[in-house]
């Protein structure tokens, strides 16, 4: 018999340190597969900021740089400008990319920085224990919205990909989810395209992925998927939100 499914070469052998059922791991696998399939493991530098994925430096088989919270895209910009022929990607949480990293998220897109960003949206600050994020859903209870997020006071959740899509240097913006096998397969396609956009030097590519945080949501892994489907999917626009003609032609 032949192995038809297993660990991709884009990942190291190290077991993930994520909580049981946390879909950060699924996204890791997809990226690992893309790196392998595009044969770019040896030419890629990943950047991880702080957050649950902050220690993912060890999980990917490519070179990796750890950045300060929110700074992955600025750091990636520095790397890409120094090494324009290499592939550079960032792996960031929603807090990272849509709270403290907002300015960089906007400006890499405005500049058309030739990097790929992956935003893992789990509607909370995971690593610090489940505080409200800009992406927290209306009414959602977190440790800093103990009475439920009050959109009248703090605004409705940000749909970051939509905002980023308004910027001319963002040539590919996709919003996916990893709640079902079907969506997982779709997410992989988007991820792959986001790396191909970079290989072709077309501009900035962002893939946002809805992900679970069973620990901070206080739900079982299975219930977390359900919660995502019921609460996040209706709020966040899904699909390939933006594709320039050049990207379509890829």
């Amino acid at each position: 018999m032949q192995r038809v499914f297993g660990r991709p070469k884009g990942l190291t052998e190290l077991p993930f340190h994520y909580c049981p059922g946390c879909t950060h791991g699924v996204i890791h696998r997809l990226i690992g597969e893309v790196l392998e399939e595009l044969d770019i493991i040896g030419d890629t530098i990943g950047v991880a900021p702080v957050g649950c994925a902050g220690f993912s430096l060890d999980f990917f088989a490519c070179d990796f740089v750890g950045a300060a919270h929110g700074r992955a895209q600025a750091v990636a910009t520095g790397i890409k400008r120094a090494l324009p022929d290499k592939i550079v990607f960032t792996y960031q949480g929603d807090g990272d990319i849509a709270a403290i990293g907002t300015a960089h998220s906007i400006h890499v897109a405005a500049r058309g920085e030739k990097i790929t960003s992956i935003m893992v949206n789990n509607a909370v600050f995971g690593m610090t224990g489940g505080q409200m994020a800009p992406t927290t859903i209306g009414g959602q209870i977190t440790t800093t919205s103990p009475y439920g997020r009050d959109c009248a006071l703090v605004g409705a959740p940000i749909d970051m990909p939509k905002t980023v899509a308004t910027l001319s240097g963002a040539v590919y913006v996709a919003a996916c989810s990893v709640d079902t096998p079907k969506n997982i397969i779709q997410a992989k396609k988007c991820l792959k395209k986001a790396f191909q956009v970079q290989q072709a030097g077309l501009g900035y590519a962002l893939v946002s992925i809805l992900s679970t945080c069973p620990t901070n949501w206080g739900l079982s892994p299975a219930d977390s998927l359900k919660w995502l489907q019921e609460n996040m999917l209706p709020v966040y626009e899904m699909g390939e939100l933006k594709m320039t003609e050049e990207v379509k032609a890829l």
């Binding site: 750890g66 950045a67 300060a68 120094a82």
Partner: protein
């Protein structure tokens, strides 16, 4: 070799290019702006890249990224902008990344004004970012030194894998002086076998600054502590100006240091044995300059702040001779006469100004 007349800020820019700086990330702020402007014009011609960050935080983190690849990289700012870079400075120190950072000190606190100041001394030498790291701080006092020290800063950064700060001020940055555009001899530097750039053909590498446990944190900190101690031992530098037989020493760096030289000469002309210690490395502070204080009756430290370096002078002097303080604030400069007058006053000397 012929000299070029250039602004201090331009001298920094030119030196960076000639030192092989390939990337500059910065955000304009008076009075440092000529650096990014000069480089915008000239670095691309030398095959380098200038990118204006969306702010100072972006800029310092772009430097962080570029430095992980082994490229020579620089940024420049001025006091409020330098404050915004402090988290980044701490990360650079922790990840041990060679980056040259220019702070053209203007007067603060807050928005303050554009005049020269030395009020960021502590910020550069002790405080600044979190975590108690140390970084090399060079204090030029004229155009030629702005040029020379900038060149050298790149070598020092690579040698010790550390950020290096050039602490200038608005006065030095704007002043035009002739500068000899020397070539720096190739330094003998350690191989950059830690840089990222794609792991093809080698094991994967990572550059980061976290400590998963307190035990690891302690190991990491002991490593840094040892490195800082080594730098402290081997890097102290200063200029001694008529100091050998001095009965009174002035201590001042940068703009104050050069003004003090005129005061020294004027005092000498009056037969008063005054000398100057001009620290060149602010960190490590040149304690060794004060090893021998035989015959020194007193010290006057001159600064453009509320009194910062004077603490390092006192610590170095270890009570072997009294240390006094003179300052100007808010963008104002002392004149040589003013320094002389103060000298006369604290040491009870008859000086003519």
């Amino acid at each position: 070799m012929s000299k070029e007349l250039m602004k201090g800020n331009e001298a920094i820019g030119e030196a960076a290019i000639r030192a092989g700086c390939k990337l500059f990330f910065g955000y304009p702020i008076t009075p440092s702006t000529e650096i990014v402007e000069y480089l915008s014009k000239h670095l691309p011609k030398a095959g380098g890249t200038v990118l204006q960050g969306e702010d100072e935080v972006a800029s310092i983190n772009m430097c962080y990224g570029a430095a992980t690849t082994g490229a020579r990289v620089m940024t420049a700012s001025s006091s409020p902008g330098f404050s915004l870079k402090q988290e980044g400075m701490s990360y650079l120190a922790a990840a041990e990344l060679p980056v040259v950072v220019v702070n053209v000190n203007r007067t603060g606190p807050g928005l303050g004004g554009l005049g020269p100041s030395q009020a960021d001394y502590f910020q550069c030498t002790k405080g600044g970012g979190h975590g108690g790291y140390r970084q090399i701080v060079l204090a030029p006092s004229k155009g030629q030194e702005l040029y020379d020290f900038t060149m050298e800063a790149f070598d020092l950064a690579d040698k010790y894998r550390t950020p290096v700060v050039i602490l200038s001020d608005g006065f030095l940055g704007q002043m035009m002086e002739p500068v000899e555009l020397k070539k720096r001899p190739k330094a003998d530097l350690p191989a950059k076998d830690w840089v990222v750039g794609g792991c093809k053909g080698r094991a994967k590498r990572k550059v980061a600054s976290y400590s998963l446990t307190n035990e690891i944190g302690e190991v990491n900190n002991l490593h840094w502590e040892a490195k800082f101690a080594e730098m402290k031992d081997s890097l102290q530098r200063w200029e001694a100006f008529h100091a050998e037989d001095a009965e009174y020493l002035i201590v001042g760096y940068g703009t104050c240091g050069r003004i003090a030289k005129s005061a020294v000469l004027k005092a000498r002309r009056q037969g008063i044995k005054v000398g100057l210690i001009r620290p060149i490395t602010l960190w490590p502070f040149p304690e060794e300059a004060f090893a021998n204080l035989d015959g020194v009756k007193g010290i006057l430290t001159v600064e453009l702040n509320f009194g910062q370096m004077v603490e390092d002078v006192k610590l170095a002097v270890e009570c072997r001779t009294p240390v006094y303080f003179h300052n100007r604030l808010g963008g104002m400069l002392p004149s040589e006469n003013e320094i002389l007058r103060k000298l006369g006053q604290v040491f009870d000397l008859a000086v003519e100004v």
